[in-house]
């Protein structure tokens, strides 16, 4: 989507240029590289206690955003969210029902970022959906649009020796797309507590595989949280 839609519609280009370019010039902020307009297949994640959601997002050129959920194998009705805005290469909109305020960094290769409410934070990551959103969708399509993303090989990152020596613990979230062969592509670290964990995470993702699916056109979004923890060895503290 990003490659083919970089030619932004005139109205969007104009609005973006007016709103973003002067600020970018003043503050050396990045310019948006991604056109958010289109239909996206997204994963919305949060604390494990609250679970993850599969969401279809339709970002329209007129500034509107609609969302539909996948529930019990069916796509729910599309619900309007607030209008989207772009400022400093950041797309924002709000789901007034859940209170989630979404933000996406448009300098990335795909649509995704973080969300927050007054008390919760989380993230979201999308791949382009290969269809145009309609008010209702054929019930046969969900599985084709959102086939189950099932890991077949989950590689564990190596805990860096230097991090052990320095007693460094940490947390990271990587979001990525998965191609039809089950390979992780375009991984990005949307959260990273310490740079020392970046390389092991990317190496592990490169070795990980998901179950393949037949439709080669479909890229599916996925995210994985990594927690690097150090625990005292049993008996190590006993003197």
């Amino acid at each position: 989507m990003s490659a083919t839609r970089l030619g932004l519609p005139a109205a969007v280009c104009l609005a973006t240029a007016v709103a973003v370019a002067p600020a970018a010039a003043r503050k050396n902020h990045p310019s948006p590289a991604l056109d958010p307009v289109g239909t996206w297949s997204c994963i919305v994640y949060s604390h494990p206690a609250f679970g993850d959601e599969r969401v279809l997002l339709d970002v329209a050129r007129d500034g509107s955003v609609r969302a539909a959920h996948l529930q019990d194998g069916e796509i729910t009705a599309w619900v309007s969210l607030t209008r989207w805005e772009i400022e400093d290469a950041t797309l924002t909109f709000t789901d007034s029902r859940s209170g989630r305020h979404y933000a996406a960094d448009l300098t990335r290769a795909t649509l995704g970022g973080g969300w927050r409410t007054l008390t919760l934070v989380g993230g979201w990551w999308c791949s382009p959906a290969d269809f145009v959103a309609a008010p209702t969708i054929d019930r046969a399509k969900p599985e084709a649009l959102m086939p189950p993303l099932l890991p077949s090989l989950t590689a564990t990152p190596v805990y860096p020796i230097k991090a052990i020596r320095d007693a460094k613990q940490g947390r990271a979230v990587s979001c990525f797309l998965v191609d039809a062969d089950g390979y992780v592509v375009q991984p990005e670290l949307v959260e990273l507590s310490d740079e020392i964990f970046r390389a092991p995470i990317l190496n592990a993702l490169a070795r990980s595989r998901y179950q393949a699916w037949p439709d080669e056109r479909v890229l599916r979004p996925g995210c994985r949280t990594f927690i690097f923890r150090l625990d005292p060895l049993t008996g190590a503290t006993a003197d």
Partner: protein, 164 residues
């Protein structure tokens, strides 16, 4: 006439502190020594890994050491040498004697920390290392020993959760 000895990390990561220190660069462990030739030579022998010779010279120097500071440094050197020889119990004894004479010698605490590490007594090793770091927070040897202790005493775990 003062002589300059560079006292660096021995292969086991210990610093042989020297007697009669007058001027000290605490980051690179450079010590300008006073007049006790045996202690100076003993420290040098320990530094290059000749532990038995270093112990012999240091014991001679110890008998001639007139000041508390020299004796404290000599005990710390003996501690380092015995730890390097793999005799942590004797090392701990010498370091404790050194600390009893001069309780703000970071090298003695650091050396004793290493000896506790050799015995697998990581909590005591951490405690001594904390004292050493409070005296000389910039000492590279302290960071090295802390890393060695962490390697042995911490179990790394990576927990992963897929969002899908």
């Amino acid at each position: 006439m003062p002589r300059v000895h560079l006292i660096g990390l021995a292969t086991i990561g210990l610093v042989a502190s020297a007697a009669g220190a007058e001027v000290e660069d605490r980051t690179v462990n450079r010590t300008v020594l006073g007049g006790n030739e045996f202690l100076a030579q003993g420290a040098e022998q320990i530094r290059v890994g000749q532990y038995d010779e270093g112990i012999r010279l240091t014991n001679i120097g110890l008998r001639q050491a007139p000041t508390v500071a020299e004796r404290a440094a000599a005990f710390s050197n003996l501690c380092a040498a015995y730890a390097a020889k793999g005799n942590p119990d004797r090392a701990i004894d010498y370091c404790t004697q050194s600390i009893a004479l001069k309780d703000h010698n970071w090298r003695a605490y650091s050396n004793r920390s290493y000896a506790f590490y050799l015995k697998g007594q990581y909590r005591k090793a951490h405690e001594d290392l904390a004292v050493a770091a409070s005296i000389n927070p910039d000492a590279r040897q302290i960071a090295t020993i802390r890393g060695m202790i962490n390697e042995r005493s911490l179990r790394p775990t990576v927990i992963m959760e897929d969002h899908r």
